[in-house]
């Protein structure tokens, strides 16, 4: 059984079709990169896996998305616990207007955990996982806004890890960061792979090549090509893919 699977996914925003018949299967403990020019639907696709698109007015979703073999768009799905099982990291670092500690503890608290000792332990392990502990351990009570952009983004990853998801969705997580912070996050993705299934949307071709095992290339709402990253980048089967990864458009 594959960890994530989409079958005949069609998404419409009003009258425009954002995704056309997408079929992909993703194995556990792999990194899958979604690439393609702006507006190709890769972000929309990513957000299907934790039903983040539900919030958009006038959206219509057809087809099935399976997580651990269960169709998450079926009626009666517990969306909160689905999302609890799926960590998400966004384009720009978006810490909450709370302390560093409370940012990471947030996911635990909203999921009904009140044991303070348990929370403290989990916060510490999560921050350690993103290699941020040494930098913030003395200012856990300070506002998260006081951290640098790169630190904030790692904190946001720690926040996602704290609820112990099995899947991590990343929506261009380094697009607002400097090269050094970017490198740190890419390194982190490598390490997290052993425990989590990661899907990452990126604009950055080299990043996709560096961090992912599989790559899906989207164009105008269609899945043009999906396969092992090395092959996509060295020997694409479709001309459109070739053009894109060599920078001839997009």
């Amino acid at each position: 059984m594959q960890k994530l699977e989409s079958r005949h996914i069609n998404v419409h925003y009003g009258t425009t079709q954002a995704l056309k018949d997408i079929n992909i299967g993703i194995d556990a403990n792999t990194v899958t990169a979604l690439i393609g020019p702006s507006g190709c639907g890769k972000s929309t696709y990513l957000r299907l896996f934790n039903r983040m698109n539900d919030l958009i007015d006038g959206i219509k979703i057809e087809g099935q998305i399976f997580v651990d073999g269960k169709d998450i768009y079926e009626k009666g799905t517990n969306v909160d616990s689905l999302r609890k099982n799926t960590g998400m990291v966004f384009q720009k670092p978006n810490p909450f207007p709370k302390t560093i500690f409370e940012n990471v503890a947030y996911g635990l608290r909203v999921n009904g955990i009140t044991d303070q000792k348990f929370i403290e332990e989990r916060v510490e392990t999560s921050i350690q996982q993103v290699v941020l502990w040494d930098e913030v351990k003395d200012k856990l009570k300070k506002s998260a806004f006081e951290l640098s952009g790169g630190q904030q983004q790692r904190l946001c990853i720690a926040r996602a890890l704290a609820i112990q998801p099995s899947i991590i969705l990343m929506d261009e997580p380094t697009s607002a960061l400097d090269p050094i912070s970017t490198a740190k996050i890419e390194e982190l993705i490598h390490e997290l792979k052993t425990k989590y299934t990661i899907v990452i949307v990126t604009h950055n071709m080299q990043q996709a090549a560096r961090v992912s095992d599989h790559t899906a290339f989207f164009y105008l709402g269609e899945l043009v090509e999906f396969g092992i990253t090395k092959e996509i980048f060295t020997n694409p089967k479709r001309e459109k893919t070739q053009n894109y990864i060599t920078g001839r458009f997009g």
Partner: protein
């Protein structure tokens, strides 16, 4: 030639624009000057209207009296001179009309030509006398002692418990009841309006469908546009009788009626400003919360409200400001009793309502007139402070977001 003409006219236009833009600043400055010049001069006045004299027997060691003491003497709450550091006699009040008890009309004279002399003699002959009469009847060789009045003191003004500016012989200018009345009514209003307004703001910005919001928003703008006198009228014919019946009161014109009307009037301010603040919460921040498994409601009270708290605070403070400065609606429904309130179900009087109700009767430049301007100064300072607090609070937010 042509270009220089163009240059000059450009300059002229720019100066015209500059002058126009200075009008608001100039107005604020003029308001401050006019208000404070007239208002502060109240502290150069004595509580006894100019042209009147209060005198005692010259053996009385007393030298000055405060307005409260004068009032208490005339109300006969103080009946003995030693209560105000005077002689050992008990006080005998003497008003101008009392002269007929001592002298006949003939002795006074047809045109009151002997009146000053008579008064002088009376004052001289009774040790415990306190005489109050017009200055024009003060004899040239007066045998009594004129009492100096203390000027109205700041403390007396702010902490005085009685507002009775037309009282004779000494005006009572204590603004404490008015300040308390204003605070009671305004805080009552905010207590009612804040939860309601916040709920509506949350509903409109986070929960309601766009269609519902598009109907609610203009309605609330309309609520802001209705003139205060119409609210006052509605309060007078609907809310006041309702309160009277509901609480079984002798009159329905109470602080509560004012609070309800003001609360309704403060709603649009609170709703619009806090809704704006909430809608400014970054979408990504809300999504991050939902992605962690938080419900929509958890996201609202744990993320959206803390994020927009400065905007919400600004809305609430501005709402209080509106309530404090509001005149007509309050004037029409609160009953306007200038006494220190003990319950919200009593008639109350606010500062703006006092100005509106009394300025028409106060003679230009008189003590009463000046006292009303002093009230205007208090109002001006309160609203200025509120403005500054709002700016500070909402300025802090932009700072934090960076």
């Amino acid at each position: 030639m042509k270009t220089s003409y163009k240059k000059i006219s450009e300059k002229l236009i720019e100066s015209l624009l500059f002058v126009s833009s200075m009008v608001t600043s100039l107005t604020v400055i003029l308001i401050v000057i006019f208000l404070f010049k007239e208002g502060l001069s109240v502290f150069n006045e004595t509580p006894v209207e100019a042209g009147n004299v209060i005198a005692v027997n010259k053996k009385n060691p007393l030298s000055s009296l405060s307005s409260e003491q004068i009032k208490n003497i005339f109300d006969q709450k103080i009946t003995h001179w030693n209560e105000v550091a005077g002689s050992k006699d008990s006080i005998l009040l003497f008003r101008l009309e009392d002269i007929s008890n001592y002298y006949t009309d003939e002795q006074i004279g047809e045109n009151f030509e002997h009146l000053p002399e008579c008064i002088s003699k009376v004052v001289d002959s009774i040790p415990g006398i306190l005489a109050f009469f017009p200055e024009k009847y003060l004899s040239k060789n007066f045998h009594g002692k004129k009492i100096e009045f203390n000027k109205i003191a700041l403390k007396e003004f702010f902490l005085g418990k009685e507002w009775f500016p037309t009282a004779q012989p000494a005006a009572q200018l204590g603004v404490l009841p008015l300040i308390l009345g204003t605070l009671w009514v305004s805080f009552g209003a905010i207590l009612l309006a804040l939860p309601l307004g916040l709920a509506a703001a949350i509903y409109m910005s986070e929960i309601a469908k766009p269609k519902v919001r598009n109907v609610m928003k203009p309605l609330i703008e309309l609520l802001a546009g209705i003139p205060s006198v119409v609210y006052g009228f509605f309060g007078l014919v609907v809310i006041v009788p309702l309160i009277q019946k509901l609480f079984d009161l002798p009159v329905g014109e109470t602080g509560l009626a004012g609070s309800i009307v003001l609360g309704i009037m403060a709603l649009p301010t609170i709703i619009t400003i806090s809704e704006d603040a909430m809608r400014n919460t970054p979408r990504a921040m809300k999504e991050a919360s939902l992605a962690l498994g938080a419900s929509k409601w958890q996201t609202i009270y744990k993320i959206v409200i803390p994020y927009s708290i400065s905007g919400i605070t600004a809305g609430a403070i501005l709402g209080i400001g509106r309530a404090i400065g509001e005149t007509m609606a309050v004037l029409m429904v609160t009953g306007n009793a200038a006494v220190i309130p003990h319950s919200i179900l009593e008639p109350m009087r606010t500062i703006p309502a006092t100005i509106a109700a009394e300025l028409g009767e106060a003679p230009d430049g008189g003590l009463h007139f000046k006292a009303l301007f002093a009230l205007g100064c208090i109002l001006f300072i309160i609203t200025l402070c509120i403005n500054l607090i709002v700016e500070y609070v909402s300025g802090r937010k932009t700072h934090k977001a960076h």
